[in-house]
Symmetry: D2
Subunit: 184 residues, 4 copies
Amino acid sequence: MSDTIICYCTGAGHTRRLAEHIARGASSAALLDVETIADEDWARLHAARAILFGAPTYMGSAAGAFKTFMDATSDFWLDQLWQNKIAGGFTTGSANAGDKSLTLMSFATLAAQHGMIWVGQAEIGPPANTSNGEINRDGFWLGLAATASRDKSELIMPADAETARRYGVRIAEAVARWGKGTAN
Amino acid sequence: MSDTIICYCTGAGHTRRLAEHIARGASSAALLDVETIADEDWARLHAARAILFGAPTYMGSAAGAFKTFMDATSDFWLDQLWQNKIAGGFTTGSANAGDKSLTLMSFATLAAQHGMIWVGQAEIGPPANTSNGEINRDGFWLGLAATASRDKSELIMPADAETARRYGVRIAEAVARWGKGTAN
Amino acid sequence: MSDTIICYCTGAGHTRRLAEHIARGASSAALLDVETIADEDWARLHAARAILFGAPTYMGSAAGAFKTFMDATSDFWLDQLWQNKIAGGFTTGSANAGDKSLTLMSFATLAAQHGMIWVGQAEIGPPANTSNGEINRDGFWLGLAATASRDKSELIMPADAETARRYGVRIAEAVARWGKGTAN
Amino acid sequence: MSDTIICYCTGAGHTRRLAEHIARGASSAALLDVETIADEDWARLHAARAILFGAPTYMGSAAGAFKTFMDATSDFWLDQLWQNKIAGGFTTGSANAGDKSLTLMSFATLAAQHGMIWVGQAEIGPPANTSNGEINRDGFWLGLAATASRDKSELIMPADAETARRYGVRIAEAVARWGKGTAN
């Protein structure tokens, strides 16, 4: 069973690829395409220790298919089934900035409504940290954001892919630390 | 033909009712339920002088059905068919604040991506303006936001209904002024 | 020494009072007025396990005096001295909604830039949870927000005061759990 | 007398330079450094037909010095002295995205509280519009955002400078159109 479920929807495949790069860094992570979510998937989500939210940014906020999934979580909001789980978020877009911040804010707000603990990006980007190459190159901190690569096979550029992997590592570390805190 | 199209989706009817109250104030306004949008509706939108965006706030941002409509506008984004139209927005929710601000921000951002001119709320709310009764009682300015009434027949409380009507008046005035500016 | 430092600025006293109510709930919390911050205060902040950010919302975002403090934290941003500390935020305003959400978003973003772990509100508000009285009555989740009381002696209304105390408890629990996670 | 006042504060000079590029495009625009604002400047602002807001983004939102200016506008908020003026905003930062969106949102919210009419960016950026060179290259639409150039003499890169100039043109066109709408 996976500790961390990476919920996503994808258009041309960029967001799914970004999710896969996060999964490379997170130990024990599974991907869940919210457009084909089934009853047993909800049970998996309720049992998970961390849930990540990921969607393309379309017209300035999260894609409709993902928003529909977000809305569906209102069913168990009153029961606060996700309270105190670790949360994080990621998005893709065709521009470097591209109002992707608003998508991340809507994810952080969703997480807060569920009483989740939000873990953002911890890689300071260029130009500040030039020794760090192009990690977090556009400077997003509330979560992870990538610019869609025009290379149809890579989809996500190497620097963004490595930024994603590190975000996965960070989520896994937070899950371990937060989880150990409850062990007797 | 209507100058102003009030695009909305609705759950239990509150947002539709709020749209109707705006329409009472706006001259020559028509309502459009985006969940049943047809090809000729898109043509009406492209011909309109003002477009308002309205949706319930679910889990901290605009309802999925409305987001799906927002996404569909990307089809003509490159052509900037909505550039320089007047825009505004409104939302409903079950709590006074309830992260409805984020919904309004996503509408203002959508409007900006289309090069539209954003017209927000102009009623200063209580407690500042006590002579104004309960108009804009919760204090939203980027657009219009109402708290769902528990009275199943009114749906929108009288103070919010009047705030909506005044927002309609404001939109109509902006449409007239902005439109006259192009007349030779 | 205090685990948790509650950073705030205050205008007419409402935000300071709200900070005091949080401190009642948080074990081992100290208040810090950022308008009189001294060198040794920065050292205390760097040593703390949790830092809360609190300011009045003026004209739609955090008060200038607090923003000046936020800017000053850029001095040690590259060193990420606050990475993995627990963070939270609170604000006051004269209206129920009053764009206070934007203030909380700017605090969550600041925290993310420092690599902090964000802990929001966990009290679901009315009308959903009617058994819970007026706790979180306006429905803010990203953090804590109160409406300034016109009663000059109480400053913060009882329901908001209790919401604040509970937020303090939640922060303390997160600090304990997150801290225990690092113990060997 | 100037129709349009471009209010700004600046750190290392980038934001002032960006303001100058906007002024090249806007007819009849004057710059106003809000850190040295005097009584007669407030009178000029009250008489202007358009006001632009510009500040560096520091730690995820507008610089403290500019926020202090924003707060000072609360003095005449009740009188709505700025109602129906044209408004716009711009910011600079060291990263392409860098949470500059939040700064623009705080400006749009300030404008809305004053009942102003918000005019955003109308240049669609790459990669969509490749014929347009690097105009609006990072994809910001709510307003204008530039990445600080490391070239100490140019401060703002040529593509961003031209994007700024075009934003100035757009503001001037909106001022003219909106103004003509009131002429009898």
